[in-house]
Structures are given as structure tokens and as C-alpha cells.
Symmetry: C2
Subunit: 591 residues, 2 copies
């Protein structure tokens, strides 16, 4: 990661200092922000990065009973907790630091970049703690959130099942109510990251399951807290709950994060003398999915941050290599002339500038969304309605855009190194393998497209989109006023905004739901490119009038994105507008 | 691979039967073509595919002295040789079968798809044998080509050095002439696939090196045959030559093909009592690079075939999964409705149809180029000038286009499977990792762009490009005559051809070589998309009037490519035409 860029985005562009004037963040200062960013860089660099390759080469092992990880993982996570980072984003009321998410994501970028696999355990724990702190009962908060914030308990999100990956409606794990108000759960989960390990005293699984009388589909799913070990009255860890692993999954990348297939209630353990995993309802019956999805925004923004950070570190490593590695000569040089660094070749610069435009654009997108979260948390509800709408609209983009383009950045980083990039002597191939997960988990690319177009755009009659377009156009106007290249950037954004609005109208008028969503992925990608172009123009404006390499780089990447990338959005919108039904009407037997 | 598609491309479209009327191929028949394709499918499926994952999980091991491979590799390659496939493309005069390359590439596609790593050894051997059969002395041919065609000797192409990857001008391995007409070589090579193993009695290294008085740069490089073991007078294997390994490289994929760092002449062995690797000049002094590059066309087309086959098998596997795997419901279905196969979801169909357009397009491109090779080999020189020009022009595209887009196909294949695709339980992640090599070796993507634009297009004043455009336009005219969608396809091709010609003129007029080649990669990608659109239209025409799923699929993929892909070529050409100098003029310190 680049601290210079983080400081630019957080303090020069987003003016994160403004948050200090709000009650929620009044305990902080510019100094505490800087200190936590320093600390994150230090812990990530010293405790996480050194075992990134080791963890990849020595993936978790399951011997049929327990999962073994290399010891560096526990040490690193202990440092993370010791630094107070697990508690950092939580409310003070539950023992947290109440750090703005925008600053915290700046911290987390260091960890994803250093070691995405080990960071996974921390993320899951924070997500579970955050959910419980907002939706758990006071007793659940007291018993579980504190230990999670301290790193004594870790968490999971146990949603998927083998027959129900993207289709949560088909979840079949069942929860039987007990006379004491608890539940017993029975079923099999799949793709559960961090589903078992010895990193913590306990593991707090947040499990989606059905009540016996729950309606079919997504309206009949409830959320349960299922601890690996039941708690004694004093909060200490007691009996083993009836949840064990059927096995673990072996992945292409992200190997450090153990991915598991847990089994609940098959009698491997018999808490209280009988089979069934003891669970406690979180929130209301049959309302599990809305609760889970309330947290999904932040989880999805987190995936986007991981994708961005993996792209970012790949960019910086390929840039460093291109500056040092001497090979080849400029066109027209004599064979007796000295060879030059790779970065002197225009095609290498192309690959570096493309990466820069993706990873710095992705980081801007992520921090912008995090700032919306901060605004929603710190402004009166009456003043943050716009931010709520924008956040909902931008979330599928914040998840999917970096997952697509920062993976592309990793592909280019490998290419900059050539054969060396294809070897395991360098990190690039590892980042590329890790990053390939991000378009899949927490809602696939296709799911994000339907979420954006179906729910977030058409679902509110285009209101949120209208708000976004107003903001984009306003940036364009400021750029035009600044003059120079800003005039062309404004014009390009105007064209793209007009076309997006027009095409949205065309799609909305198609009537048939299938036809409306058939090109949802193209719509998602087009909107994503427009949004990132807008955020590049925001950066260009922030850099306007400043001189020096750093600001020149921002200007060059803006130029790159507007000339090489933004035009692709218009092609995709043409495709959406054509609504030719090619994939919708295709007879699958002809494939 | 799909035999149905191979038969369509070879016999319905390319009319490979026509080759039987030419002297060179007169010994063959439609039946022998079918028989060798059957044999390839059988050997690939039974001997190569079963150990593809095993070889990935148990990569070659170097103990400091020798390389150990899993035994299945030798067994498979023995079967390959036994089937006569090593000899198949060679001339009868050197013991070959003189099989048309178009048919042979149809065979090789099965092997790449089954196990790209093991196939690598065969490919390298065939390439070396082919080179020697055309440029070696009669004695070299007698001593080496026969045993290579039988699989007793394997081959390598030892070009790169650590300081000279893409920049062959910097090769520093030196060759000292000896009184007996042989040479002694001293130096270190890098990235040499198949550089040592026990798969064969001997290894025939084709090594680029410099004579003491050779001029600097690429005009001072000579080619040498350096056997691992020197031959006795009777052709049997004798003393160990002074070539050993400094180590092997550990890669992201393509792990089955050992990649090595050979050292020549450091005295590990002392043939004839002294240090120095004994080598024999192939061709003329200082003419090593032109000889090597004469073979490079076929090697690059071979890389394109590998990329295509990896994409193709990924497509078929993700299609099979999407047809079987039940998950989710159509939009608007009730939660109590039965879930449906993945292939029923339009976004899954999008990912499958995109893959189909890439992999079948890539295969058409490969077989078209192979047919040009066959024409050049079988027609009188006076009748094959056009084919020679076209082949030279299309080679960088045949190498780079599938390397880019069939890698994309593998990315989509993983996405079709979702989380399952990210695991090592399925082949998709392996194909993706393997395929990531193809944009790098045998000339990187950037090198192909400069070859196309600098050498093949501008280098002959646009003559070859003019020939290509004439052929493309002629196909368009036929499509327009066929009517229906053909009218729109013709119009789209016309627009793209006009624009490519126009933009080529703009670039050619830039004057400065650096400015002309700054956007060479974009030019390469644009031209590639136009060429593949053309070949889709050729397939559409071939399918025209035929009914049934297979032909409907060809029509759907043509529609996909023309509506979703071809427009990207025009964007890229706009970028080339703008010649904004963004990467050329970029100050690297601002990156």
C-alpha cells in the first residue's frame, strides 16, 4: 500500500478531519488517525506479510478431528488484537474504539495487501461482532462481543449450504425450538471460512437456518448464534457444541483462510446429553436474511477492499521491479547502447498505468463508500438519507468493480515481470490466485448485477441513481470550471450520465423481469466504470493546482481512465439498450 | 475438445480434403485423417488426462543432480511416440508422416486440453526436430532427427538468459570454435523448458550463442546443437556433455513441464578431458536468430493452440457442470417451485456463450493459420505467396489472441462453477493457472504487438494487411448475399476494415518510430478482434442453411461476437488513432 495515497484520499480528498467535529468521532483526532494507520502498517508489515507465502505453501490441514494452521497465523492475529484493531470499528458501548470506517479501511488495506488469508479470520470476527453488537440481545452482546473484540473468540458467517450457494432460499438447515428458549440446529453448511481452528478459545458461528413452521424461500430463514463451545454461567468456555467439520476445501488461492464444511447436530458431541447444535436466535424469527443483509453492505465493501489491496500491492511490486530490472533498449537504439530499466518501455508503462488506474480508482471507491457509512453513523438520520441511498446503490459496485479490475491489475503485474512473474519467487502469482476469489464470494458478480439493476436502481424507481448522477454531474461542472483537461472530462461524464439515464429508462420499460435483468452484468460493469471515472475526476480536482510527481501521476491515471476505460461503459450500455435477448432466448442445447 | 467442432472446422469449413489432391499429402486420405484424430483423442484421454492434476500436485523435483518427474509423464510420452505422433508433422524424407499441420493441430488440441504440462515435452521435441530437419546438416539430421521422431531423444529451445528474456540481443553465452569444426559453449541459460529429465536417452538442446568475433546485437547470434550426451560413432549415447542445471523454476502453473536454468561449460563434466559444452553449428554463423525465427511462426501458433485448448476444455467442463448442477430458480418463480440447472440462468448462459465465442473462435484462427502452413508446404511457391504474407501477418495474432481471450474463458469457467470452480476438486483453476503462461512465453503480448504493427504491417508498407482486408471484405460480401443477419455482419466488418486501414495510415504517418509503436498492443488487440469476427462470419456462412443445435450454436456465438466483442476493436482503434502519447511521454517517476 501507499501511505501517501491513503493520506491523499482520506485527508486531501475526503477531508476525513471533518468527522472529528461530529459527536460519534469527537474522541479522535488527526493524530489518532495517523497513529492507527502507522500501527496498521507496522503490524501488517512485520506480522502478516512475512508468512504470506508460507501460509500458501502450507495450507490448513484437517486430520479428521481438528484443523492445523502454521503458528505464524495465531501470532499475527494476536498482534492484530493486541493492537486493538479487532475492536477499532466497534461502538464504544460494546468496548470498541468507534474509529471511522474510512480510516479503518485504510488500515485494513495494509492487512489485505500483506496477507489476505490470515486477515480473513480477523475480518470474519469483526463482521460477526459488528452484527451481534447491532442485532444481538444485551446478553448475547455481553457474552460474545467483548471476547470477540479482544480476540479471545473468533467468528464465522455460516450461510451457504451445498445445494444453496447463491440461492439462499434453498437453505435447509433446521432449528428446533427448545423449552428454555434456545434452539437445536441440524444440517450441513458449505464454504464456511474459519469454520474451525485453534486460533481462539471459541468460535462464534452465525448460522442461517429454518424454523419448523417457517415459510418457504428467503422469508423463512432465521439467524442463530451457535458457539463451538457452550459458555458457562461465568462466561468461560464449557462443553463442546454439536458442530464439527465434514471436511475442508482446497482452493486455488486464499489458502491461509481455512474453508470448511461444518455439520451441525449429527451427534458428534452431545451437549446436555443429546445430539443437536445448541443455538440462540439473533433478531426476530424468520428475519435472518434481512439482518444478515444489513451487514452484507460492509462485508461486500470489505471484499472490494481486499480485491483493491491485492491489486494495489501487485501494482507497487511490479512498479518496483520495472524500475530496477534492466532489460532491452529503446526503439532505434544501437545494440551497443546500454540497456534500460523496464519502466522505460512504453508498453510496460501502459501496464503500470492501467494498474494504477484500477487500484487507486478502487481504493477511492472503497473509501468513498466507507465515508458514506461514517456519515450515516455520525449524522442525524434526517441529514443522511442521501448517503444511505448512495451506499445501497454503490455497494454492489464497490464489491464487484475491484474484484474484476484489480484482478486484471494482478494479471498485468505478472505480465510486467514476464517469466519471473509466473514463478513463485515473486508474490504476483499469489496475489492473482488470491484475488480470483473475490468475484465469487459474498455474492457473485452476476448476483451483484441483479442487486444493482433490479433492487437498487429499478427497485426505487431510479431515485438513488438520480442522486448519483446529480453528484457526478456536479463534479463534472467543477472540472469544467477548473478548465484544461477538465473540460473534456466533464463532457465525457455528461455523455455517459445521459446515456446511463436513458438506458435505465429503456430497461425499466421492458416490462418483463427476465428481459430487464438479462444484461444486468453489463449494466453493473458500465455503471462501475462511470462511477470510477467520476472518482478519478474527483482525484484530478483534488490534485488540481498541485505540482510534483505524485499529483502528475494522479493526472496521468485520470487521463488513462477517461481515454482508455470510460468509453467501454458506453459500449456496454449500447448492449444493454439493444436488449437483443441473445442470452435470455438462447436454447441451452445449442451451447 | 469437441470432435464435432474439429470436423466442422477442418472438413466443412476449411475443406481439408482438398489437400489430398496435392503431391505432398497424396499418401493420406480422409480416413487417415480421421484415424489420427481418433488416435489422438484416445491417447490424450487415456494417457495424458489422468495425470494432469497429479503432475500439478507433484511438480518436478531437482535434487541438485537430476530432475525427477512422476512416472506417468514418461508413460504418456512413450504412448505419444508409439502412436507415431512425434513423427507425424515431419517430412517423409526424415522419417515423418507428412501430416498436414491443420490435421495435426486438431490432434494436438486434444493433448493440450488433456495435459498441457506433459504435452510440452513432445512439443519442444517436435519443434527442435522440425528445425533440424530444415536447417541441420545431413549428418545432424541423420544423427538426431530420427531418434527425436522416435522419442528416444527429446529437444529443447535454449534461447533466453537471465539478462536476456525478451531482449535476445543481449545473449552472452559464447561459443569458441575448435580445430575439428565443433564449438565449445560457455554460459548460463534461463527459462529453458525440458532442460533436463530422464524421459529420453538424450536431450538435444538448440542453443543460441555468440561467436568470439560476432557483431553486437541480434546479428551476432549463432545457433548450436548441444546434446546432453555426446554421440558415439554408431549413434549411441556416450560421454556426458558439459551442461548441467543450476536449478529449476517453480511456477504458478504448467508445473508438469520442468523449467530450468542450464549452465554450459562450467566444468561439471569434461568431455574429451576438458570443460566446455560441445556444440555443433546449425546453419550459418551469426544467422542463428533468423533460423530460430523461421521456426518461431509454428511455435507461436502452437502457443495459441495450447491457450485455445485450455480454454476449450474449460468451456466444455463448465458447460457440463451448468447442465447438471441444480441451483436457483428463474426470476419470478415461487420459492416452492423446483430449482433449475445453472444453464437456465441468463447470466450463466452469457458466461458460456462468451467462452464459446473465444474458444471456438481461437480454434478457427489456429486451424486457419495451420492451413496456411499446409498451403505453403504443398503449393508451388508461385501460388503460395499470399499465404506466406498472411501467415506472417496472422502469427502474432494467432499467438496472442487466444492467450488473452482463452485465459478470459478460463476465468469465466471458474465463475460458472462459483466456489466449486475455485477449488482444486475441479480442473478449471488448473487450466486457468496453466493458461496464464501463454501470454508470456514465445514472445510476450507486448512483443507480439510490436511484431504485428512494426514488422508485419508497417514493415511491408501495408501489403499483407491489404491482402487480409480484401479477404475479410470478400467474406462480408458473401454474408450479405446470404442475407438475414449476414447483412449486418457484413456492414460491421466493412466499418471495422475501413477503420483499421485508416488508422494504420494515421500510425504510419506519425514518422517517429516510438510514437508509431506506442499503442502497438492496442493495435494488436483490435486487429485480433477483427480477424476473429471475420472467422466467426466464415463459420456462420459454413453453417448457413444447416439446421440443428450445433449450427444454431455457431449462429449464436457469431451473434455474440459481433454484438459484444467486435465493437471493442473500434474503441481500441480510436485509442491508436488518437496517438495521445500518454504512455510514451509519461514520466516514470510519476508512477
Amino acid at each position: 500500500m501507499s501511505r501517501r495515497d491513503l493520506d491523499f484520499l482520506l485527508f486531501e480528498w475526503l477531508r476525513t478531519d471533518e468527522l472529528l467535529d461530529r459527536d460519534r468521532f469527537a474522541e479522535h483526532s488527526r493524530d489518532t488517525f495517523a497513529a492507527v494507520l502507522d500501527l496498521a502498517e507496522e503490524v501488517a508489515t512485520e506480522q502478516f506479510a512475512p508468512h504470506n507465502r508460507t501460509a500458501d505453501l502450507n495450507e490448513p490441514h484437517f486430520d479428521g478431528t481438528k484443523v492445523e494452521l502454521i503458528p505464524e497465523v495465531a501470532t499475527a492475529l494476536h498482534s492484530f488484537a493486541e493492537a486493538g484493531l479487532l475492536a477499532a470499528p466497534l461502538d464504544e458501548a460494546v468496548g470498541g474504539m468507534q474509529l471511522p470506517l474510512s480510516v479503518f479501511n485504510g488500515c485494513m488495506a495494509w492487512f489485505h495487501a500483506a496477507n489476505a488469508g490470515t486477515t480473513g479470520y480477523a475480518l470474519l470476527t469483526m463482521a460477526a461482532a459488528n452484527l451481534l453488537s447491532q442485532h444481538g440481545s444485551p446478553e448475547q452482546i455481553e457474552q460474545y462481543v467483548g471476547p470477540m473484540a479482544e480476540g479471545r473468540f473468533f467468528g464465522t458467517m455460516a450461510l451457504s449450504e451445498n445445494q444453496a450457494g447463491s440461492s439462499l432460499a434453498d437453505i435447509s438447515t433446521r432449528a428446533e425450538p427448545q423449552p428454555d428458549g434456545s434452539y437445536r440446529l441440524f444440517g450441513r453448511k458449505m464454504w464456511i471460512s474459519g469454520g474451525d481452528h485453534d486460533l481462539s478459545e471459541n468460535i462464534v458461528h452465525l448460522v442461517l437456518a429454518r424454523l419448523p413452521d417457517g415459510p418457504a424461500g428467503t422469508r423463512g430463514i432465521s439467524l442463530f448464534l451457535v458457539p463451538k463451545f457452550l459458555l458457562e454461567a461465568d462466561g468461560s468456555v464449557g462443553e463442546h457444541n454439536d458442530i464439527v467439520l465434514a471436511g475442508i476445501n482446497h482452493k486455488m488461492g486464499f489458502r491461509g483462510t481455512v474453508n470448511t464444511a461444518p455439520v451441525l447436530g449429527d451427534g458428534a458431541f452431545t451437549p446436555g446429553g443429546r445430539a443437536g447444535a445448541v443455538g440462540y436466535l439473533v433478531g426476530a424469527e424468520n428475519r435472518g436474511l434481512p439482518v444478515m443483509f444489513a451487514m452484507m453492505n460492509e462485508a461486500r465493501i470489505g471484499v472490494g477492499l481486499c480485491a483493491t489491496a491485492l491489486g494495489y500491492t501487485g501494482y507497487l511490486k511490479s512498479l518496483a521491479y520495472a524500475r530496477e530490472r534492466i532489460q532491452g533498449r529503446p526503439l532505434g537504439a544501437a545494440p551497443t547502447d546500454d540497456p534500460v530499466p523496464l519502466v522505460q518501455h512504453p508498453d510496460v508503462r501502459r501496464m503500470l498505468l492501467a494498474q494504477k488506474s484500477y487500484v487507486e480508482g478502487g481504493l477511492a471507491l472503497n473509501l468513498y463508500c466507507a465515508r458514506l457509512v461514517d456519515d450515516i453513523a455520525s449524522l442525524p438520520a434526517t441529514e443522511s438519507a442521501d448517503q444511505g441511498q448512495l451506499l445501497g446503490l454503490l455497494t454492489p459496485i464497490a464489491k464487484s468493480w475491484p474484484s474484476q479490475w484489480c484482478l486484471k491489475a494482478n494479471e498485468l503485474a505478472i505480465q510486467v515481470l514476464g517469466g519471473a512473474g509466473y514463478t513463485r519467487d515473486h508474490d504476483l502469482e499469489l496475489h492473482y490466485r488470491d484475488n480470483r476469489l473475490n468475484p465469487i464470494h459474498e455474492g457473485t458478480h452476476g448476483i451483484q448485477g441483479m442487486d444493482l439493476l433490479g433492487r437498487k436502481v429499478l427497485g426505487d424507481g431510479g431515485a438513488a441513481l438520480g442522486l448519483l448522477l446529480t453528484k457526478i454531474r456536479a463534479t463534472g461542472v467543477r472540472a469544467a470550471e477548473a478548465g484544461g483537461d477538465g473540460l473534456a472530462y466533464d463532457a465525457a461524464l455528461e455523455v455517459a450520465c445521459d446515456r446511463l439515464a436513458e438506458v435505465t429508462g429503456i430497461v425499466g420499460a421492458l416490462g418483463d423481469q427476465g428481459a430487464m435483468l438479462a444484461e444486468a452484468s453489463a449494466y453493473l460493469e458500465a455503471t462501475g466504470h462511470l462511477v470510477v471515472a467520476w472518482l478519478w475526476l474527483e482525484q484530478w480536482l483534488t490534485a488540481h493546482g498541485s505540482t510534483g510527481d505524485f499529483y502528475d501521476g494522479k493526472r496521468a491515471a485520470t487521463a488513462y481512465f477517461f481515454t482508455r476505460e470510460l468509453p467501454q461503459a458506453l459500449l456496454l450500455l449500447d448492449q444493454v439498450a439493444a436488449a437483443d435477448g441473445l442470452t435470455l432466448g438462447l436454447n441451452p442445447t445449442s451451447l
